[in-house]
Symmetry: C2
C-alpha cells in the first residue's frame, strides 16, 4: 500500500495542526453557506487550517469578507459536480472539479480529511479512484450516526448507501470498520455489533446473512467488539447495540425512512401545538425543552457520513446542509483527523483481512436456503 | 381455481351479515385481550358475527362473561402456534392449532376474512397452503398502512415481510395489488404508485428495479393507477405517493425502522415534557393536542397487515396488539369483507397476469448493471 504512506505521515503533523480539505461547491446551498460553516468551525478549533476547493474568483471574496484568509487557502478548481451527474461520467471528465481537487489534497498528503456536500455517488467514485481501497476491503461503506437511547446519544449504522449490495465478507468487514469507527468517533471501548435482519431468530433472513452471522460472531475477539446477533429496524435507535451492520440498499432506505418519520412527527407536533389557544401557550412554555429535543434528533447535528475502507478519510455532508450542518461535518472530520482514524482503520482491517478469508471459506458451506419471514 | 368458488359465494352473504374468523391464541397478550377487542368491535358493528378459534375450555368462559355468546361461536382447537415455531414445522404439525382452524373457516366459506395476532411466518405458510395463491401471483405480499400527510391519513406499503425477496414480476404484481387495496381499503379512486429505491434518478438501484420501473409504468392504465416512479424512504409518509412497492426484506426493515423512530421520539418527548416545572405545565395544557397526535401515529390504530394474493383475505394483527389494536384489526377486516375485496383483487390480478408476462419478457432485455449509490 505505498499510496497510503504520505497520508499516514501527515495525519499526525509535526506541528500538531489539523488540515482539512473542503469542497466548497456542489452543495444545494452554494459556497457562501460552506464558508459560513467554516467560519463557525474555525472560531472553535484554533489549531485547524482549511484547503478550500472551488472557483477562486468566487471564493476569495467570501473568505476575505469573513477575515479567514490567514487560515483558509483557496485552491482554484473551475468545474462543479452536479447532483444529477452520473458517477461514471464524473470519473471520466471530473479532473477539474472542486470535488476531485478536494480528494486529491488528501491523496497527496496535504490534508488529513476531505469534506464535501456534493453528489454521494460521484464522491465515492472519485475517492475510490484517487485514494484506493484499503487492503482487505472489497466494498467501502458509508457509516452514519443514528440518534439513540445510548449514553453516547448515537449508534453507528453502515453501509448507508456506498454500494447497493454486500456479501458475507463485506458484512464482516463492515462490522470491523464500524466497531473501529465507534471506538474512535464515539469513544466506545468495546462496541456491541448487530446484524440487521427481518427477525432476531436464527432461521430468518437471506442465506448470506446466516453466513455473515457466524463470521461476525467468530471475529468478535479479534475485532474487539461484542456481537449481539441479528437486530431489527426497531433496534437502530436502541440501547442494546452500538453498531448496526447492513447492505447499502437496506441501510439507505432505513436512513431515509428514519429521517422521513422524524420529519412527519415534527410537522404534526408543530400543528398540534398551534391548534388551540391552550396548546399555543403550551408550545411557548415548553419551547426550551422542545428545542432541546429537536436538537437531539436534528439530522444537521449528526451531519456527516464517513467513507470507510479507503486510504484516507472522506466525510460526506448532507447536500442540503446549512451553516450549522457544515460546521458539524467539519468538527467530526477534525476529531477523526486528531485520532489518526484512517491509519487505525487500515491497520485493523488489514490484520482482519486474512481472518475474514479463513472464516469465509470455512463457513460458506453452512449457508442454507432462507425460510420464514419478518414479524 | 375451483377452490376459490365457495369463498367467492360467501364473501357477499345473502343475509348481508359479515362473518369474521378470529384466531384467539398466539398473541403476546393471550385470548382475554382478543375477546376484549371482540367486545369493543361488536358493540360498533351490529351486523357482524365471529367464529372464535382456540381452546373451548378457556374461551367459553371469556365469551359468556361478556355476554357475547349470541354473536360469537367458539370453534375448539386445542393447539397453539408459538411465536418461535418455524413455519415449516407448523405446516407439518399444525393441523390442530387455532391458527389453522381460523384459516380453514375462510377456505370452507364459513367466514369472509381471517384475523390472527400470531406468528407471521406461520400464518403466511398456513394461508398459502390452505387458501392457495391467486392465479398470476407467485409471491403473496403483506400490505401495511403507513401514517402519512395524505388526506386519507395513511399510505399503503407492500411487501412488509411476507417474502424476503421479490423479482420484477413480483414487484409489478405488488403494484397492482397495492393499488386495489388502496382503492378498497382507503377509498382512493386512482392511487399513485411509487417504487422504493435508494434515489429517484433512473440510473440508481438494482437491475431488477430498473426493469420493474418500466413494467409498472406500462401497466398503469390497465391497473388504474398513476405511476410516480422511484421514491425514497423519506417518501413513505409523504403526500406525493399513495402506494409504495418494495421487496419484503426492505419493507420489513423500513416498517420497523419507522416504528422504532416514532417510539424514540415519543420517549424523548415524554422526557422533555416532564423535565422542568414549566414544561410539565405545558404537557398538561397540550395534553389534548398531544393525544390526538399520538393517536395519529399510534401503530395500534393502523393495526393489521393484510395478506394479498391469496384466495381469501387474511389480516395479521400485531403480536403485541392490545384490546384497541385487536378491535382496529377487526374493523379493517369488516370493511374488506363488506367490499368483497378478495374477489375484486383476484379479478384484478388475473386480468393483469398475462399483461405482466408480456411486459416481463418484453422488457427484461433492457436490464442494465446498476450504477451509482444512494444520496
Amino acid at each position: 500500500m505505498s499510496i497510503a504512506n504520505p497520508i499516514n505521515k501527515t495525519s499526525q503533523r509535526a506541528d500538531g495542526r489539523v488540515v482539512l480539505s473542503v469542497d466548497a461547491m456542489g452543495g444545494d446551498k452554494g459556497p457562501a453557506t460552506v464558508v459560513a460553516g467554516l467560519d463557525r468551525f474555525l472560531s472553535e478549533k484554533t489549531d485547524a487550517r482549511i484547503l478550500l476547493h472551488g472557483a477562486k474568483s468566487e471564493l476569495d471574496g467570501l473568505v476575505s469578507k469573513r477575515g479567514l484568509s490567514g487560515r483558509v487557502t483557496v485552491c482554484d478548481a473551475p468545474d462543479v459536480v452536479a447532483m444529477s451527474d452520473k458517477p461514471s461520467h464524473v470519473m471520466r471528465h471530473g479532473k477539474k472539479t472542486s470535488m476531485w481537487s478536494a480528494v486529491d489534497a488528501v491523496r497527496d498528503g496535504e490534508a488529513s480529511v476531505c469534506v464535501s456536500c456534493g453528489n454521494t455517488g460521484a464522491l465515492m467514485a472519485i475517492s475510490m479512484l484517487r485514494l484506493r481501497k484499503v487492503d482487505g476491503v472489497s466494498r467501502p461503506a458509508i457509516a452514519c450516526l443514528w440518534p439513540s437511547l445510548n449514553p453516547a446519544g448515537f449508534n453507528v449504522m453502515l453501509d448507508a448507501g456506498a454500494d447497493i449490495r454486500a456479501d458475507q465478507d463485506d458484512l464482516l468487514t463492515y462490522a470491523l470498520m464500524g466497531a473501529s469507527y465507534a471506538r474512535n468517533g464515539l469513544g466506545i471501548e468495546r462496541p456491541r455489533v448487530g446484524l440487521l435482519n427481518v427477525g432476531v431468530e436464527e432461521h430468518k433472513g437471506r442465506a448470506e446473512l446466516k453466513v455473515a452471522h457466524d463470521m461476525i460472531a467468530s471475529a468478535a475477539d479479534k475485532g474487539e467488539y461484542d456481537y449481539v446477533g441479528f437486530v431489527e429496524g426497531g433496534d437502530l435507535p436502541s440501547k442494546r447495540v452500538d453498531v448496526i451492520v447492513t447492505d447499502g440498499f437496506t441501510g439507505n432506505v432505513a436512513l431515509k425512512t428514519g429521517e422521513g418519520t422524524s420529519n412527519l412527527i415534527s410537522t404534526l407536533l408543530r400543528e398540534a401545538l398551534t391548534k388551540t389557544p391552550l396548546s399555543m401557550i403550551a408550545g411557548l412554555l415548553a419551547r426550551g425543552s422542545l428545542n432541546r429535543l429537536r436538537k437531539r434528533i436534528d439530522p444537521r447535528r449528526v451531519n456527516g457520513g464517513v467513507f470507510l475502507g479507503l486510504n484516507g478519510t472522506v466525510v460526506k455532508s448532507h447536500g442540503s446542509a446549512d451553516e450549522m450542518g457544515v460546521a458539524a461535518a467539519l468538527s467530526l472530520s477534525y476529531d477523526l483527523a486528531k485520532a489518526s482514524f484512517a491509519d487505525k482503520l487500515a491497520a485493523r482491517v488489514a490484520s482482519a483481512a486474512l481472518l475474514a478469508q479463513d472464516i469465509g471459506t470455512e463457513d460458506t458451506d453452512h449457508a442454507e436456503p432462507s425460510v420464514g419471514s419478518g414479524d
